[in-house]
Symmetry: D2
Subunit: 415 residues, 4 copies
């Protein structure tokens, strides 16, 4: 299309590890070809068997420096290293909450930046945020756009940034090999539930932390008693949910209904559709969930158990809420910050019947955190998998029956 | 649109019973207005309280005799009776398998025809078939279009036909009040499963019959062992399914896999995707499921239990089948006839993860037969409800976990 | 269960209008029986034909005063009037944002309260909020829980409140008779789209107002150009959406992509998955959408057209957002207030591929506002219908192809 | 687990082509490791750039001969060739319709068998059937289990069989690059529809053949007129559908309704729910669709256009059918045979809103045939992709609006 042939741009790259059987090499070449770029293989050593690693070195040739940069940006996420890597480039924040145009946007994979010739691990990695470098310490950490402040140094371009793709789990390994499975409702759930129970038990023994993301169906289906049991058994360190979960859980504690349906009989209760409003109003009168528990008003449920067992609770508002319950953070960025702190040091997240909050959680989780997604709607599970949370097991199943069986499994272990 | 005002056509009708609180009267008037017809209320006696029945008599006035006939056709299905009812009209079959143009197409509701001044109950009622009258006996019965033969007398028009709408269940009645509920995955399933277990126990005590409609997910999810238990406990008298269920159940019995996935580990088995073909081929070698069981080849599963417990088995082929298993009826009308005989005298049908066969079953069931539909896909449950099977409870849930809990409930009853 | 027979409680009620064919009478009796109460019919006059209205007067007898109150609460929503109605009871707010325990929670139906013997219309009616009475003016209006302030007088109990159920549309009436239809993807959409276009044209001629609720799929599918056309044709007075719609619309304007996919070719663009972050960052640099339009940065799209045509824009944040775009309200209650003001005096709302924002909108709309819900997921349409927004037409279809055909229809009208 | 170390089994294999960027090599190694086998790389030559092909030779070592066979069975489907390949082994059919236990079950990929030292292409390749060898001719061809006859020679084991995996389409190639895309409703459909129209035009110019698979929603949504136009424009050479499509298309031709809903107004017609029975009955009276068209009874629609334009029509019955229409094949294996003949030499198949018939078609299609799947339900599209029909483009969209836009696109081409 152009008349004069533009100058080509070249960069030498290296790959190491199980680059063939983990498909890294083929994905690198595929990315190069999709970018209409080319490669010239300089050296390859292929492992002779399943144990030996491989090594490849090649030149990547793109039509322009700009296209090369964009391509290298993609290749980095496959674990490619640039030969003769140079220090990461930085630019200062010139306006609070506004980044330089060419800021480096993170992935959720383990990431390092080269600062003064030293590879620094980027702290608090999460997707789609900026990397701030404090060269004095030295230290590199993630910061969302809206929290950046004038004077901070932000990584720009891809130079001096490297990303470590997660190793795909080997077959016949430990639990969680199922997470490679495609999402399907036509699979045995009992097996997967037993695997998840094993994983929870392992985390328990190692004094690890588990977070739950809850949608209101957990309460509507009467499954709140299983969540309560999980909390009482010591398996829940953090809960992330919206106003509706708190409101209906309190409704159930106060009136025995959820959205006006009696949880003992399954029948709608006379005038019950307003019970959640009454429940919210009652908690507002006490001023907080803690105060309501202290006053002995909330006799059972998720909120009561969370308060008693000091579960880290992050309740985020949404545009469709009534009330809200006083503990709910109504500003979305305050809520995100609370979530970030709640998700800190979490080993596994179990997302139960909640699309909105699960996607929000997925966005903030490092790729290395284990995640289980349970929803009766296959689209929700697929959507979560689409968003880069690949270290995830998806179960298309009924959240109530899932929790019942999970709790039975855990009880049988007598931890 | 017409220039000369056409002669109006009139018919006097009567309604009896709880015609107001069961909405019969409002539906009658609604139908009259939708047909652009009119009514003139001649007499009304309204019950003074919830126990007393009501009575209404009115003239229906339509623009033409043809429109009146069409309207009365609808009204009959609401239980309306024509004042001065006349004998049902008949016409002879003149060509095998072809009905008179204006043949009366049945509903699935209890139906009577007036023959020589006597109301005869129509036998074997099902939807969308013809009514044959044998005046000599006298007797009236249903026959599908393709089975009619030259010389039979078929009811034509609506005259002399009356239909009895099912009474809506009163609140706080027995089990199955849940069947009025809208279909939703956001409801407590444990309560509904307990209700269904009670219903099964009642039928067991009354020596009634239960039929299952099974889709292949029952096998893929590992739930075949629960079906086996239900059969062994004496709760299954008939099974309706396709080739796939039989094939994968035999695959599981022979190879421990379903669609090549190991049911013990959940992992795909080397070369296992062909196991179902091998299983089919094996049964073909023995000639029948019975022969394979006799030879000791099928050691467990739905097919073996069905053979041993003399469950009535109707296996219908479909266009997507491999094989087939020798017991499968490959002609659709032979299969429908088999189903009709299998569904005879069934008190309750439980449809599990099978859209095609559940719709087929729904088409053949009288409206008075209790039906439970279990599927993880809400569209399937909704679709079944759309097709006139109103006496049905719909559960949007996981079929494996549903069956596990149902079997646990029934075991606890020690019937 | 109780030992001494409790005193029964009685109230005389009246019903007027098409109470039989609109099923009001049967629903009243059904509600009475579900509440285990009884009735004694004192007088009934049934219209002799489709034009004449009916009248019924009866005593309602419940087991206790409390049960009677709860029952009457339900009956009011069916348009029942209490004989010898008494003034609405009020209680003062004693703590900001906290209501009296027995506050009256509104429906979204037209509502009146009896104050000093005069029926006052309740202003700004919406679901699940409180009614404040300012007896001095006199005036009654809705207020959400969190906005109530010490000293305001709130309606408590059901006494002196009456609700006017919407008349069901008569068949063969104007447009929008389709809204009675059950939700289904198996229907002709072209007919429904033509009806909607007629409705939009009517509103245009009467200088009415239309609001759109938008989900990000509108941008991802390339349908933003049709929204732009609708705005330019003068058919959009308000838009309600989230940060994602604004961000991807700006991404499309700045980079020609949506979520990194080129809208001209459908192919993913190299490094494009970060374009939406860059777009957000750019708007943040300008400070607002208005400023970005003024600077000539946004050359096309929904946001630009909205700014130029002074469309009332309500952008609400959510917990999963990046950025955000500066115009987005991040506090949920600020966003709800903005929505309330935006939805004021809107004649029709069209909800396009947005579950969260559509439910929020549905919660705030009076039942009398026309609503169209378009989503490819039947569950979304069903869920919206479940929440009391009954004056709604649901289309299970593709939002891109829907908008294309709608715009073609409207262009052909040359308004 | 075993006490004495079993003898290992070894086979030398070769791979040729773009084995790294097409992921063949990594998939081969992954398969070896999943089988708990091992490999020893003997030789590798890696292409230095995107144009050069690669070559690898290695020993595969499994724990036993049986495990090796199973593993090689999988590897063959990846295009692996055995060094020193031996003639395919055969066994005779000893009972009609029953195969030898270890028969080779085909894939839908291009396949060759080694007979007397010559590689023969397997004719009529389709999934999950047997390969018959007629050594005299010599010739190899596919045969479904139930059609095999005593005396035929069937390929057993994997020896002497090789399979050619389809090359993944290179990026920025011709049309149909979209078929790599994941299934999503959140994509621009107009672009994909334009691509499909281009593909149809290409096939038209090359005098190729296109087959349609139709579900009843095509008629219910009023889209039958677009199918009629496609047939009239010469773009349809074969149609595969069920009784329902034929019945409702005839219902529309005779009464203007589909399932009783007026296709001009969208309103249900008085007594119209029986129109499809009347339509079926009418065609039965004439004896065939051809006869009904000859008699001038069917004035428009899919069936009439198919008869007039000599479209190859395969109508298959199902267990849920009424009637049936006389042209419908009620035996499933007769119907499959008819489909096989209809699908012969088809270049592209477009599957429209039909799960059952689309899966049946997918099972019979060679992998090389282009396929387009259009359904509003993402699960249908996903399910089809799961079944090995990978050369497919999936559109989650509305079939009516899809067809309208497709026809517009094709008209604009004035072919």
């Amino acid at each position: 299309m152009s008349k004069t042939k533009p100058a080509k741009a070249t960069q030498q790259i290296e790959l190491r590890g199980h680059i063939i059987d983990s498909q890294i090499l083929s994905r690198v070449w595929s990315a190069i070809m999709q970018a209409n770029a080319d490669f010239d293989l300089l050296e390859i050593q292929v492992g002779r068997n399943a144990q030996e690693t491989s090594y490849a070195r090649m030149n990547v040739i793109a039509a322009s420096r700009k296209e090369l940069e964009a391509l290298l940006d993609n290749l980095e996420q496959l674990g490619v290293e640039l030969v003769n890597a140079q220090n990461a480039r930085c630019a200062p924040i010139e306006m609070d909450g506004v980044l330089p145009d060419d800021f480096y946007a993170t992935t959720n994979l383990p990431t390092e930046v080269l600062v003064n010739g030293v590879w620094l691990n980027v702290e608090n990695i999460e997707m789609d945020v900026a990397i701030i470098i404090d060269a004095a310490v030295p230290r590199a950490y993630c910061l969302p756009m809206h929290k950046t402040q004038i004077g901070q140094q932000v990584v720009v371009g891809h130079q001096g940034v490297r990303v470590h793709p997660l190793e795909l789990p080997r077959p016949s390994a430990e639990h969680f090999s199922f997470m490679q499975s495609s999402v399907s409702s036509e699979r045995a759930k009992s097996l997967m539930i037993a695997d998840i129970a094993d994983e929870i038990a392992d985390i328990y023994k190692q004094h690890g932390k588990i977070g739950l993301v809850l949608g209101p169906a957990v309460v509507h289906t009467g499954a709140r008693k299983y969540i309560e049991e999980l909390i009482n058994m010591g398996h829940v360190q953090a809960i992330f949910a919206g106003n509706a979960v708190a409101a209906h859980d309190c409704e159930a504690a106060l009136f025995g209904t959820s959205l006006g349906v009696d949880l003992q009989t399954g029948d709608p209760v006379q005038d019950g559709h307003r019970n959640h409003l009454r429940a919210i109003n009652t908690i507002r009168r006490y001023g907080s969930l803690q105060a309501a528990v202290d006053a002995g008003i909330l006799r059972d449920g998720i909120m009561k158990a969370s308060v008693l067992h000091h579960v880290d609770l992050a309740l985020a508002g949404s545009i469709r809420d009534d009330g809200p319950i006083p503990d709910v953070l109504t500003d979305m960025y305050a809520a995100q910050d609370r979530m970030r702190s709640v998700l800190q040091n979490i080993n596994m997240v179990i997302m139960l019947a909640s699309m909105l909050h699960s996607i929000a959680t997925g966005n903030m989780l490092p790729a290395s955190t284990k995640a289980v997604v349970v929803d009766i709607n296959p689209a929700v599970v697929t959507k979560l998998a689409d968003r880069g949370t690949t270290h995830a097991a998806g179960l298309v199943t009924d959240v109530e029956l899932f929790l019942r069986e999970l709790v039975e499994n855990l009880k049988a272990k007598r931890l």
